[in-house]
């Protein structure tokens, strides 16, 4: 049986890795496209910031259930429903934390000096090479920030997990829900222990990222 804390860390890690893989192309597109309706896509990406987690969780629950399009497909494919499973939590978290990854990614990619990209092209580099050798390394601090923010945001996720996961101990009970449960049962000692651990992880993460970015800026100057 997985402890709530470990489950939270696993969920956050898988989510931020997925957001790195799928969010980066979205961010690249947002940063460089001249498409006129880009603002529509930006609005959709930003929606989870303003939406109450319960509303988001409600729609995801409908979609993930066996009557939902995605849920039905998942059942046929894997034999169990997407709702009330770890995979369901991951998918929900990816949606929920999407803006926390994509927005910093986009800002970082867009801030790379276009003249460097032009220079790269005129030196014969393909778009792929320009991205991996110039754009990505120069945007790296912002990309780390996006990764860390989506990790931390998922770690503290409550409403969506509650709606989607159903608080099943060992499978879908994350730390933030366990804390709530412990408080409900007046076990302040357990709640405090879990809270201080989450606090510690989040703080350590931010310290490491800021230190990394600082060292890097110093090297580029």
């Amino acid at each position: 049986m997985t402890s709530p804390l470990l489950l939270s860390v696993q969920l956050a890690l898988v989510t931020s890795c997925l957001l790195f893989v799928f969010g980066l192309p979205v961010a690249w597109w947002l940063a460089f496209t001249r498409f006129r309706l880009r603002f529509m896509v930006e609005s959709v990406v930003a929606l989870p910031i303003v939406l109450p987690p319960t509303v988001l969780g409600f729609y995801l629950l409908l979609e993930f259930g066996s009557r939902g399009w995605l849920g039905a497909f998942w059942v046929r494919f894997t034999g169990h429903t997407l709702a009330f499973s770890f995979e369901g939590l991951v998918l929900g978290s990816v949606v929920y934390s999407l803006p926390f990854a994509v927005q910093p990614f986009t800002a970082a990619l867009a801030s790379v000096d276009r003249r460097l990209l032009a220079a790269s092209a005129s030196l014969g580099a393909s778009a792929w090479r320009t991205f991996w050798r110039i754009t990505f390394p120069l945007a790296f601090p912002g990309i780390v920030t996006g990764f860390a923010l989506s990790f931390a945001h998922t770690l503290g996720e409550f409403g969506v997990v509650l709606m989607l996961g159903g608080n099943i101990a060992g499978r879908t009970q994350t730390a933030s829900i366990a804390i709530y449960d412990n408080v409900q049962m007046l076990d302040y000692w357990a709640a405090g222990r879990q809270s201080i651990t989450l606090l510690g992880i989040s703080f350590a993460l931010l310290v490491v990222i800021n230190a990394l970015n600082r060292k890097r800026n110093w090297r580029l100057q």
Partner: protein, 382 residues
């Protein structure tokens, strides 16, 4: 890929917000200076050739290597054009070392060949000792050399330079230009050099293309172009606010200058040599922005025309101030002889910034000195 030494042929038709960019020219294996005021369309021409923007109509080719053709629907991406482009913003990659910057364009080559070419060019531009440094850690002149080496090591079939050395001091600049032109002669490729400085246009090349409002208005040797009289329309269009009728008083062939007297006055101006005899009438044109104003008599100055006058009008224009300065003769440099008291005054329009007006505390009626360089005086076609 075409053979080295292919001629550049350019035809561009591109409406821009301010004017229509419409020009066509050819360049053999030579250095061609593209000269014009800022905003004349020079950089847009380079951008079209390099592939950063596309003409609405036109054709751009290096020999038989067509990089753009609206007729045949050809528009090669920048990276496939094999054109070296260097602007004043050097765009060195800040996170890569000097060596990594230089070898960036050769990453597809096998290691040994890449290393050999990078070593050779770094030796040539004397940046080998900086190989491991980052661009931010080296001097401006060194950065220029790195940027140049990075462009040239790819052996482009055409070089486009957009005032790349504007930030350098004269000595560094001439050293780098020498290295650059040596390279150009060896590789026999066309080189387009954009500048807005007439002195550069004079000295760099035997061929200058003059651009105005998106068009090439002159093409030829700099001496011929810059001494050629211009039409009154063009003078007014290109902002020569001061136009004078004058008489050639004296020619100084050895100095390459003439002394002209503004008609109906005793005011003397030293101008560049033109194809005129003493006693002949000439029309002079002078930009209001090319005149300096001093509140005390300047000395130890290279400008050959220092005129005393007084401020007859101060007019606030958008972005600057126009002074009307009335100069009588006798104040002119060299005219220390008796000034006739009956002479008419000559009015000069002078453009200065609002900051200069405040700083100098200029007021109506105040005595000032005007400073005019010989070569800022142009002749109009009569």
């Amino acid at each position: 890929m075409s053979a080295a030494g292919a001629a550049l042929r350019v035809e561009i038709h591109l409406p821009l917000p301010q004017f229509l960019l419409e020009c066509s020219f050819e360049a053999q294996n030579e250095v061609v200076v593209l000269f014009g005021a800022s905003g004349a369309g020079k950089t847009s021409v380079l951008d079209c050739i390099a592939g950063f923007r596309s003409p609405h109509r036109g054709r751009i080719a290096l020999g038989d290597h067509v990089v753009f053709s609206s007729e045949h629907g050809v528009n090669l991406p920048v990276r496939q054009r094999r054109i070296g482009y260097l602007s004043q913003q050097l765009a060195l990659f800040p996170h890569l070392s000097v060596r990594q910057n230089v070898e960036y364009g050769l990453l597809d080559l096998p290691r040994p060949e890449r290393d050999a070419r990078v070593d050779a060019i770094m030796e040539r531009f004397r940046i080998a000792p900086l190989a491991a440094s980052r661009p931010a850690a080296i001097s401006g002149g060194e950065q220029q050399r790195v940027a140049l080496a990075r462009t040239l090591v790819c052996e482009p079939e055409l070089l486009l330079l957009d005032e790349p050395l504007a930030a350098l001091d004269l000595r560094l600049k001439s050293l780098l230009l020498e290295a650059l032109f040596d390279w150009q002669r060896e590789h026999a490729v066309p080189l387009l050099y954009v500048t807005h400085e007439q002195s550069e246009a004079y000295s760099l090349s035997r061929r200058v293309l003059v651009m105005e409002m998106g068009r090439v208005v002159a093409d030829g040797e700099p001496q011929r172009i810059f001494s050629a009289p211009i039409s009154r329309e063009r003078a007014v269009l290109s902002g020569y606010e001061n136009l004078f009728e004058a008489i050639v008083e004296e020619t100084h062939p050895t100095l390459g200058t003439m002394t002209c007297r503004v008609a109906g006055t005793d005011l003397l101006l030293e101008s560049p040599m033109a194809n005129k005899a003493e006693g002949e009438a000439a029309r002079l044109a002078l930009r209001a922005g090319d005149i300096l104003v001093a509140v005390t008599r300047p000395s130890g100055i290279s400008a050959r025309n220092v005129l005393q006058g007084r401020i007859g009008a101060i007019e606030d224009r958008a972005g600057m101030v126009e002074l009307r300065v009335l100069c009588a003769a006798g104040a002119s440099r060299g005219a220390s002889e008796e000034a006739s008291e009956e002479t008419r005054e000559t009015g000069f329009r002078v453009h200065i910034t609002r900051g200069a007006l405040q700083n100098l505390g200029l007021q109506l009626g105040q005595a000032v000195w005007l400073i005019i360089k010989t070569h800022s005086i142009q002749f109009l076609r009569s």
